[in-house]
């Protein structure tokens, strides 16, 4: 082979390496910038107190509380739904079933729907249709559920995170050896007994992975909750399903774009961003660890 061809090949090969370096560098710069500016702000007071003095003082406890409440409600909705969908596709549906094809298509496309469209849907369906309906039916038209509320934000977010849970659960179901199922049937178990006693316990890891990834996604996403329940400042914590709530991501957005004095609120802002990042990273890291365990098992079974 001529030396020139070899040299050009080597150069182009290095270029792809440089592309990797650029991506890694971008990640390091973003994380580094936020950690450097935000680390000084982290303290027990910061995460346990309410904001004071026009958001320039105090902490972000209500936003943390609101985010936690949101993702808990979301998890309650999305886990049973997502796990059942995955179980149907993997355990119940006949092979090459048209329905499974459609469900899979719907899941894939649901994952591609822009977050802001979910926000519109939450407003148009949950608040305007379901919420108003509940108000008319049970509260004599008094406006209670027909307005932005944590329950509607959580349900909107549950739809957004549904694909995450389905995909992770399906992967775990695939990792369960077929023989386990056959043994359960041969002992006379019904399909449901087999699923409850054999499949579900074996799939706990995958379900956990999906749940954690969904929580991580849900706690960082802002667009779907902007019109469905998040508020910039509330004097009280949400205690009822129809209350509004404060959210970390929304807090970051409003403070960044609408603060009257950016320099004054900057430390708090960086602190909030760092808390949000730490939250999502811890969740993601845990999920990746569990998933790695499952994949390892999947490989060793084969």
């Amino acid at each position: 082979m001529p030396d020139r061809t070899r040299l050009i090949g080597w150069l182009l090969q290095s270029l792809t390496g440089i592309a990797c370096l650029i991506i890694v560098a971008m990640v390091v710069i973003i994380i580094g910038n936020i950690v450097i500016h935000g680390a000084g702000k982290l303290s027990w007071e910061f995460i346990s107190q309410a904001p004071r003095g026009g958001m320039a003082l105090g902490g972000i406890f209500p936003a943390i509380f609101g985010t936690a409440a949101l993702v808990i409600l979301m998890t309650i909705a999305v886990i049973p739904l997502g796990v059942a969908t995955a179980i149907y596709m993997h355990e119940y549906a006949p092979r090459r079933s048209r329905l499974v094809y459609l469900v899979r298509l719907a899941i894939q496309n649901l994952a591609g729907v822009p977050a802001i469209v979910f926000g519109l849907f939450g407003l148009g369906f949950f608040i305007e249709f379901v919420g108003r309906g509940i108000d008319r039916a049970f509260y004599g038209g008094r406006l209670l559920y027909g307005q932005p509320a944590i329950i509607w934000a959580a349900l909107t977010m549950a739809l957004l995170t549904l694909p995450t849970v389905v995909v992770a659960t399906e992967e775990a179901l695939r990792a369960i050896p077929e023989t386990y199922r056959e043994v359960a049937y041969s002992l006379g178990a019904t399909r449901w007994q087999m699923i409850r006693r054999v499949v579900l316990p074996q799939a706990v890891g995958g379900i956990l992975t999906g749940g954690i990834l969904a929580i991580s996604r849900g706690s960082g996403e802002v667009a779907p909750v902007m019109f469905t329940g998040a508020a910039y400042f509330l004097p009280d914590l949400p205690t009822r399903l129809h209350n509004q709530f404060m959210e970390l991501g929304y807090h970051v957005y409003v403070m960044t774009t609408q603060s009257p004095d950016v320099e004054k609120t900057k430390p708090i802002l960086y602190g909030t961003v760092l808390v949000l990042l730490l939250l999502t990273f811890t969740l993601n890291f845990t999920a990746i660890m569990i998933r790695a365990q499952i994949r390892k098992r999947l490989r060793s079974e084969r």
Binding site: P114, S219, M226, L276, L277
Partner: protein, 328 residues
Amino acid sequence: MRSSRLLSPEKTIEGKLLQKFRGAERLTDRLAAVLIKGCAFVAIVALVLIFVFIGKEALPIFTSPEVRTEADLGKLLLPQPERGFVWQPVSERPAYSILPLLAGTLKATIIAVVFAVPLAVAAALFTSEFATPWAREVIKPAIEILAGIPSVVVGFFCLMVLAGWLQSAFGWTYRLNATTAGIGLSLAVIPIVYTVSEDAFSSVPQRFRDGSVAMGASRWQTAWRVVLPGASPGVLAACVLGFGRAIGETMIVLMASGNAAVLSWSASDSIRTFSATIAAELGEVVMGSPHYHVLFFIGAFLFVLTFFINLTGQWWVGRLQKKLRGGS
């Protein structure tokens, strides 16, 4: 259980109990099957509901005479007398031309894709063809981290830090503009393009590479002439899916684009995208007003657009699998 089988099973008390128990189990089994099947429908139902409920609020643009006097399809798309293409929904005489928004969306998306695709595809090629195991251990988690950063945090970074850097580097008039937003968006696009194309590269059978190397090709020639063409439908799918992600992304453009609905060709003008328009205006809009319906119309448009983009992307992924299976 054993004793009941020795006797006639139907006649003993235990046998009867057992039968009843069996019956209950069977009932639970049926019930569970129905419930689980019902849950599986939710994804389909949700997708249909999204379409119906957003479409329903967008429909008055075509049907309601009241709304149509202010905003019908002609007023959204065609130049208006004296004003041309203007998006001014809250002025005294509201104008709803969506062309500046379309231009803004396209500008940001194209810049993002142009920036992200070469980087991500090259990085994916490196990871699958040239990287040593330890390099893989660095780049893969880095991509996972990038994918895990909430978009509001990326938007925050663009607004607070990146916009200033880029402005002092290029001397732009507007700190927040199409290029800033596009580069910010590319951070959201890179993980998806990388993941899909890396999948495509690693699904190219090893014996293709072996054959190429056996014929005397270098590693680069193998990657460029064998692996890349082999995985081309997957790379195309990655670009399409990345494009779909960029068009719908909201928080980054909302924070980093300047949000001025300007119709121009310049990449250093401020822009306002479809998604950011919805996010910025839906909070203050009067419910049922023409403005409200126009925002839902934009949402419906975004939904349909991303839907077809994603279908196309998935179709190309399917093509890749078929191609590689056919080749083996």
